[in-house]
Amino acid sequence: MLRDITLGQYYQADSVIHRLDPRVKLGTTIIFIISLFVFHGVGGYVAAAVFLAMVIKLSKVPFHFMIKGMKSIVFLLSITVIFNLFLTPGQPIFRLWKLTVTQEGVRLAVLLSIRLGFLIIGSSVMTLTTTPNQLTDGLEKMLKPLNRLGVPVHEIAMMMSIALRFIPILMEETDKIMKAQLARCADFESGNLIRKAKSLVPLLVPLFISAFRRANDLAMAMEARCYRGGDHRTKMKPLHYERRDYIAYLIVLCYLVAGVVLGKLLPILLGSVVA
């Protein structure tokens, strides 16, 4: 029932991307997202598309897995596109009743859907190829310097990894409770909005109770193993960069340069072709 959500799920495979240091993947994702909003013109997006396609190919994750994640944001995406299409002031193309579609609107809508689409696919590549544990390990190490400023980096990372770990557990739990209530002839689908909301009570109450119970058990188990937070805590598998990680950074740098150069160059090239 709820298994279709791939956002934030790990896909096991043996690939270069999977083996990369999580810091590289985190950093690259952030750089990639920023680049999507900084790049102007077609050239930048061509570079981004090529880069993304290359990473996906290398990651050995089936492409339809990433598209699955996209489905969940189709609604959000279409709203943004519609608003941009109709509400951007500028050169009108045609009128539809009281709404005007403008040239700038079309440009913005296309741009935005490309940006959002790439953003979602780009970040799902990261989550699909990195286990939540690696991810938080990477984050913790990256943010370590903030410790000096009194930011409890380890605790934040721990909270994040617990939260991520709980997503599939709670999803499974929801599935179980839903089935148990369906076996008692519960109806989650029919009726108006208020009835539907009411029908969720038999689902949500047990879910909350079980979430609290699990949190309690986990806290107890951590306590029993003398968990004391981040001070003087060592890692079983400390992160360190290897050759492939430096190569990856180099490739990202190349991508940035290519994006900027193409973004500047392509319009000129196109211009000269047209001329």
Partner: protein, 283 residues
Amino acid sequence: MPIILDNVSHIYGEDTAMAVRALDKISLVIPDGQFIGLIGHTGSGKSTLVQHLNGLMKATSGAVYFNGEDIDSEGFDKKKLRSKVGLVFQYPEHQLFETDVFSDVCFGPKNLGLSKKEIELRAYAALKLVGMEDDYFYQSPFELSGGQKRRVAIAGVLAMKPEVLILDEPTAGLDPKGRDEILDQIAKLKRETGITVILVSHSMDDVAKYVDRIIVMNKGRVMYDDEPREVFRQYQELEAIGLAAPQVTYIMKELRDHGFDVSDDVTTIEEAKQEIIAYFKER
């Protein structure tokens, strides 16, 4: 009303790299009024199987017939099926949500669209059937003990007046006393109402005493489907798949090996007692 499974297979995560065949061409007939034990090791597919019986899961291939009707056919009333085939899940107490015991048990019949009077009558009868005292009716279900919570959850399914009652590991996590109480209660319920009961378990000791038919599952297939004593005769094969015959069967075998002329074709403590007494009387 009989349930018939015809070549039912179920594959989890079909078309992915992680596809698992949980049920492999299962064919079974479950006639009215039987007391069936469904046994198998963890992951043998028994929980998956029972979820097919009330239409919570859809067979990847094959068909399930309830009272002669294909439950996946167009226009089949799944809600009615679920009220006729009551399924109590593992740890059913985790599904309780109401503010008091009585209203929680009312949830099932209320979903059937019955009159208020009928709902309350059924809830009362169901709570009595599982042996809950009146004093508990208006307590919060979360204040009860584990065994009591479980009774309330079972009553929640019984209140729909099912004709087939399926219990998935009803004794998991209970102490020996709670376990015996629940099982005795189920056996009593079976005697009094005559409904079909399917008891899912991984413990032979739990079911041997009560059931008149045992279905053993292994790796998504039915391995044995027979009377208890016939099934336990294969104790060596059972051990090979991580199960065991009841402890008393082993004791009788040991006795036999040590020169006592007793039958080892025994599955319950009561039978063993009779057998041993008879042996000493003959001497």
